[in-house]
């Protein structure tokens, strides 16, 4: 219970401070955020966009881990967990895509530019879409669990190839991409000022806790639904 209150407070602070704190080119006090040239006020999206992108990946890996577990033990609960994680991952993936597209409109001039990161999240959306199409196409529960587990593992082992392919095909626009004066790398590294850094990591922790909470809720409802079906 305590951790849920902690999460609520944390996310409230992130929202209020992330949006509310003033920005200035030469921060004088602790509560002023520095201006990043080229991003300015648009930099605030980092507190919300990056955590959703992080969660869509975390959820994908969680789903795959439970898929492997299901194939080893054949426990229906592992399949429930795998699909619950995938369902949340899909929601966060859509949120990351939307927040990213809105930001791209104002920063790059159009909603979609086929930047490597945009392409990667598009593929992740496709994988989630395919995963749920497959689940809805199989009626028998054990078969559905086994087939969708296998698919999520196959998708998970082929997706990392994009890390090597993207830089060969296109140059990135995204902050943190190759050629970004602020530094390149698979993980976006900003020279963030301390107050920004605190809010950013508070947001990551808060969103991860939110994910755990939603995940447990979904697993419980799915279990109840299944028990209801077995009875009726």
């Amino acid at each position: 219970m305590a951790w849920k209150i902690f999460m609520g407070v944390l996310l409230t602070l992130v929202i209020v401070l992330g949006i509310g704190l003033p920005m200035s080119p030469h921060p004088q006090t602790w509560y002023e955020l520095p201006v990043i040239p080229g991003l300015e006020e648009k930099a605030r999206i980092i507190f919300f966009h990056v955590p959703t992108a992080w969660l869509s990946t975390l959820a994908f890996l969680t789903s795959m881990a439970y898929a492997i577990q299901y194939l080893r033990k054949r426990d229906p609960l592992d399949d429930i967990k795998s699909s619950a994680a995938a369902g949340l991952g899909f929601v966060f993936c859509v949120l990351a895509t939307l927040t990213g597209a809105v930001w791209a409109k104002f920063n790059w001039g159009s909603y979609w530019n086929w930047d490597p990161r945009e392409t990667s999240i598009f593929v992740l959306l496709l994988i989630y879409g395919a995963y749920f199409s497959l689940r809805s196409a199989v009626e028998q529960e054990e078969k559905r669990a086994a087939l969708s587990s296998v698919y999520s593992i196959i998708a998970a082992v082929t997706a990392p190839f994009f890390i090597f392919i993207m830089p060969r095909i296109m140059t990135g626009l995204h902050p943190g991409a190759k050629g970004d004066p602020n530094g390149a790398g698979p993980v976006v590294e900003f020279k963030m000022a301390p107050p920004m850094r605190v809010i950013f990591f508070a947001s990551l922790i808060g969103f991860t806790l939110l994910f755990i909470w939603m995940f447990r809720l979904r697993v419980r409802t799915a279990q109840l639904e299944q028990a209801h079906h077995a009875k009726g």
Partner: protein, 208 residues
């Protein structure tokens, strides 16, 4: 005899969509014995047969089969299987089906032996038409040849008399008698008259 063939199941159960078809089925048969599986339609006879020949994984329990000196050797070649839902490769002739089957088993192909077996089940080995054109009774005969060609120690017959005329049924009786001499016979049927003297019986109606 230390090298005797045995077939046993312990605590077998299977469920689909979270519902148990049967649970806690156990049996044990030795060489030269017959296992009879009975139960009404939908009681899981075919499911149990598929579990015994290790095509289907049980939700609970396990099957053990083999010679005493080669414990755990549960290879596919130990089993021959005949059932109404077993399908032949219909675009091939009877002889081609047997050749395909032996090839996929990874075993040597002996055409003369196959021809003799086809004659034994009452089919013309030189008939070139694809199995698709056969009557259901003839298809059932092809399945017997398909199941017997690799001399399986365990022969599983699901509804052995399905689609067969009187002459076919008597051929099946002689196949069953021969199998009891050679190994283990497992029969699943609605009609206990199919089997004269079963040694072990499993009634699935009592295991729901």
């Amino acid at each position: 005899m230390t090298n005797a063939l045995t077939l046993s199941g312990k605590g077998l159960g299977k469920s689909f969509n979270g519902r148990a078809v049967f649970h806690d089925v156990s049996f044990s048969v030795a060489e030269h014995q017959t296992l009879l599986i009975t139960g009404h339609n939908g009681s899981g006879k075919s499911t149990l047969m598929k579990i015994i020949c290790q095509v289907l994984t049980p939700s609970a329990g396990h099957v053990q089969v083999g010679r005493a000196d080669s414990a755990g050797d549960g290879g596919r070649d130990l089993f021959g299987f005949v059932s109404p839902y077993l399908q032949m490769f219909e675009e091939f002739s009877a002889m081609e089906n047997l050749a395909v089957a032996m090839g996929i088993r990874g075993r040597q192909w002996n055409k003369r032996e196959a021809a003799a077996l086809l004659e034994r089940v009452g089919l013309d080995p030189d008939r070139d038409e694809p199995v698709r054109t056969y009557s259901s009774g003839m298809k059932q005969r092809v399945k017997y040849a398909f199941a017997l060609l690799h001399h399986p120690p365990v022969l599983l017959l699901d509804e052995p008399a399905a689609n067969l005329d009187a002459e076919g049924v008597s051929a099946v009786r002689s196949i069953m008698a021969a199998q009891r001499k050679a190994g283990i016979l497992v029969v699943a049927t609605n009609d206990p008259g199919d089997v004269d003297t079963p040694d072990v019986m499993v009634d699935l109606d009592a295991r729901r």
